[in-house]
């Protein structure tokens, strides 16, 4: 276990050290993040990173295979475009967490604010608290699991991502509808809850998905554009 002090080393040296070690499976602790931007980004191999404190914009972006834990809260753009691996935040995440993510697990133990999982493309996101408005906007693939409540316009213009919410949904976005929870969905949900260490029963959730009415341009709607 190596301890890297972000204030002593500077952000670029920290990220270079981590990126060079990616693939080694080593463990690193980042001390004194003090809300810095772009901490532990672009890691493209197995590696364990624990950040001791809160981070700012764009933490853990483009992560591939690394396991990153933030012991605190994360600013906007957490784990953007994640490819694989696991990113865990013990506190809250700000807006557009997990945006455009293609794979891996983003585990937010607190709340996530607006636009969580916007345009997600295969990532699994588990939020133990609530999520804000416009979450999963244009989400294409993957799973968004919310143990708390969801804000307005959930899943607006949704493609094939699955959304599971245990609490209340303030409102559904255009073309997002509640769908039947079938055994295969309960199975997916049980696996995600277990991997995220979430204490919740799959049967307590409702599933939301695309009504698929916006997939194709409808000539009858031409005058609406």
């Amino acid at each position: 276990m190596s301890v890297l002090d972000l204030q002593a080393m500077g952000l670029r040296a920290i990220n270079t050290t981590l990126q060079s070690a990616a693939g080694s499976g080593d463990s690193f602790t980042i001390a004194n993040p003090r809300g810095s931007h772009a901490v532990a980004v672009g890691l493209d191999g197995p590696l364990n990173v624990t950040v001791q404190g809160s981070t700012g914009y764009y933490c853990a972006g483009m992560n591939k295979e690394a396991e990153i834990t933030v012991e605190g809260s994360a600013g906007p753009g957490l784990a953007e475009n994640m490819m694989s691996g696991t990113v865990t935040v013990t506190g809250d995440a700000s807006q557009y967490a997990g945006a455009t993510g293609r794979g891996g697990l983003l585990n937010i133990r607190g709340n996530a604010s607006s636009r969580c999982g916007i345009s997600m493309k295969g990532i699994d996101i588990v939020v133990h608290g609530n999520i804000g408005h416009m979450s999963a906007f244009m989400a294409q693939k993957g799973n968004l699991v919310v143990l708390g409540d969801a804000g307005d316009a959930l899943g607006d213009s949704l493609y094939e991502a699955r959304i599971f919410v245990r609490g209340k949904v303030a409102s559904l976005g255009a073309d997002c509808v509640e769908k039947e929870m079938r055994p295969e969905h309960l199975e997916i949900l049980a696996d995600l809850l277990s991997r995220a260490g979430a204490d919740a029963a799959p049967g307590e959730f409702r599933r939301y998905g695309s009504a698929r009415n916006l997939y194709n341009f409808n000539i009858d709607h031409a005058d609406q554009y």
Partner: protein, 295 residues
Amino acid sequence: MCGIVGLFLKNDALHPRLGDMLGDMLVTMTDRGPDSAGIAIYGPAGEGTKITVQSDTPGAAFDGLAEALSAELGAAVTMTRADTHAVLHMPEAVAAAAIAALEARGLRVMGTGRSMEIFKEVGLPADVLERFGIRAMGGTHGIGHTRMATESAVTTLGAHPFSTADDQCLVHNGSLSNHNQMRRRLAKKGVMTRTENDTEVGAAYISSRIAEGATLGEALEGTLKDLDGFFTFVTGTRDGFGVVRDPIACKPAVMAETPDYVAFASEYRAFADLPGIEAARVWEPEPATVYFWER
């Protein structure tokens, strides 16, 4: 972008450190906006009125000003100078005449009130803090801003905070799109603004609502209906400060609370040096939701 900060001290023992703590928070936000910076500091409300004025030629403008005003107004006027700014202290009864006399001399009135002083200039937060000696200033609460200009020129008058009524001021991250229309609506009611800046219109809207009898909470609630655009607002009053974000809430905001203080900032970085931040409750204010703290 723009960076905004606010600090409301619940623990009286911290009052002497307000300028230092708020100054540190603002300096951390420097890279969100390098154009101009400003701080409003609220001390305990005393007797009389304080008027903060600015001049680009402070030597000529401020030398002998207190004595001249005292003679002109027939009341005792004292003055504290800080670089391009001066804070004049006088009996409340002569404040309106004093403002007219100061403006007739070509001085710019930054703010008025019983407890508020405003210091703002073009330049980086660290330089602005240094020029006005803000770190040495005590107080109960304050708000600050570092600007990346969008809606009006980079000038002293275009810097935040904007004050449009006694002891009220506003800092803003974002841009308002209906500010010209709102400026005209306010002008019809006799509420005048001094600049082309969008934020000043937001400040004038809030103070005109309060003047009409609205509470701070109701006035901030009104911004959600009547102002169009992007905003995270932090507004200072004699008793405290309030926060509101537009419903889309793309401008960042984070808050922290401990038994000693409530802090607001554009980013968590600004909190890193606050005492006890490790154990603070830290959260992101909800969109379209009004928060305020008053003593």
